[in-house]
Amino acid sequence: MPPGRSPEPAAEANLVTAGRALVDRYECVRCHTFVASASAPAWAHVPAPHPELDCVRCHDAIRAGDPLVVPLEPSGGAHEVQSFSDIPKIEGMHRLRRSFVTKLLLESTAIRPNLGSSMPRFEITSEDAAAIAAFVVPDAEPPLPAVGDAARGRTIAGTHGCGSCHRMTGALLPASPPSIPLTPAELSLGQRLAPDLRHVRDRMRPAHLLEWLRDPSAVKPSAAMPKIPLTERELEDLAAFLLTTPLDPIATSPVPARLPLRERPVAYAEVNERVFGKICRHCHAAEDIIGGGGPGFAGGFGFRKRGLDLSTYDGARSGSIGDDGKRQSVFKPLQSGPLAGTPKLVAHLIARHAEVAGTPVPGVRGMPLGLPPLPLEEIQLVETWIANGRPE
């Protein structure tokens, strides 16, 4: 059992109520589906998003080849936002530690190594994060259960092939095929959704971990994890391994170095084709585009309206609305901080690399929001275009 941990009490009622309103404010439903159940009846009142604001399901439809949905990009648009697939449903959340949900909302930690990051890095206070966590995990945590032997648990993990879907950063997770038959589709889905087991001890409530390992779909009907036949003792041993085996510290990856400006001229068409039109305009488009221009134009995910339109040349040159309510150029160099002298637009793209490396740049939110960073060559393209005078 993780040392020094006591069960979480039930969330305060006023915090739960506040969290319900914040779920709307931060627009959790643009990506997640809330599945009501007997233990979470309030979720029945969390409405689905307006279809024009439903980024995930729209991209799912594009990916599935739905003939009723036509993407703007001639390529089909599916490959640009692969991260918007298999977003976990909000269901069976009582298994999670409320403190973990709070931390996730504050830091947008990516816990599914094969899914790619897609959780937005919110502009959220710790109070708001705690309130949302209270809404999704209102219950008290059950008493800590007895767990077994971690060494035996490691062997069980190897025997049953946990490593065929999961990783466990900082610990040895024996690799072997799954002990139960899985179709290729089931295995593929499992690999995409499987969390890094390193996070289990912070993420899951031990009593519910045992329930989960016994039968995942009994806890979360939409769970991709299969039911693996285990004896009660094996369950306890496996839980002991997941909760207590020593973990090496995570090695930090350095922020990659920026590339120098290109020597050849770069025009807008190339920047638009490779960056703005491919990624940015999903959230930064004009107000009369579907979805009201996206959260980066009209506001959304708790962000205020910024009015930044990167779907057209004129729009990119029109700047964005600053914290003071006035428009400002997105090409203007930052005045201070580690990215001083860097054009604002470029700074946001570089800051995403820093966020992924675990060293966020103070005051500069990484873009694309929550998604994998742009390749350095594409940032170089944008920076060169700006340095060239932003030719059309």
Binding site: I62, D288, Y313
Partner: protein
């Protein structure tokens, strides 16, 4: 008839000069060009507005107005429709900017074909009036703001207002179009600001190349 129209337009222009811009009505519909349900119904109004925009970009001002009016026959009127649509706004901006670029020498459907300097001046004032309303409806849209300034720059006595708007946008590096810099350069020339003019022309050329930035 022409005299009546002249009086009508002039009364509106007086309102343009003397009154503050109306409050933001902000009518925003959805254009459904990003992702749409298929098969998309052919929308003749949308097609005509797109053609109008294309002709405006080509510099064929009268034809641009023709297609804009084909989409919205009464687009010269203010207010034109019970519920202003984004598509109507686009069409009306095309007509207004075609009028500005043609120095008023077009027929926008108000009975004034631009045959005399007086008619051309009234047409230019009509364009400025239209753009004032457009700017009021789209406060956040810098492109519309620049178009408004370009329209105002062609109205006698209002050049200073246009200069102030464009100079601010240029200073803040928010000028979205080469045309905005070109208009600013023209105004700076009239003010005897050769250095400012050269800077504006240089910025114009950075965006659009030399050919599009000729003051002559």
């Amino acid at each position: 008839m022409k005299r009546m129209v002249l009086c009508w337009v002039t009364s509106f222009v007086a309102a343009l000069v003397l009154t503050a811009a109306p409050q933001d009505a902000h009518a925003c519909g959805k254009r459904r060009e990003f992702v749409h349900r298929s098969p998309p119904a052919a929308d003749p109004k949308l097609e005509n507005v797109r053609k109008a925009e294309a002709w405006l970009a080509e510099g064929n001002h009268q034809r641009a107005i023709k297609y804009a009016r084909r989409a919205f026959p009464n687009l010269e009127q203010l207010p034109a429709e019970p519920e202003v649509s984004p598509l109507f706004d686009r069409a009306q901006r095309v007509a207004a900017m075609a009028t500005v670029h043609a120095h008023g020498n077009v027929d926008v459907g108000n009975g004034l074909a631009g045959d005399s300097e007086q008619e051309r001046a009234v047409n230019r004032m009509w364009a400025a009036f239209v753009m004032q309303h457009q700017h009021a409806r789209h406060r956040d849209n810098v492109v519309v703001e620049v178009q408004y300034a370009q329209a105002v720059a062609h109205v006698d006595g209002l050049e200073g207002q246009a200069y102030a708007m464009l100079e601010r946008l240029a200073t803040e590096d928010l000028m979205p179009t080469a045309g905005g810099y070109l208009t600013l350069a023209r105004l700076q020339t009239h003010r005897g600001d050769a250095r400012g003019r050269d800077t504006s022309l240089a910025r114009c050329r950075e965006i659009a190349g030399t050919n599009a930035c000729d003051l002559a």
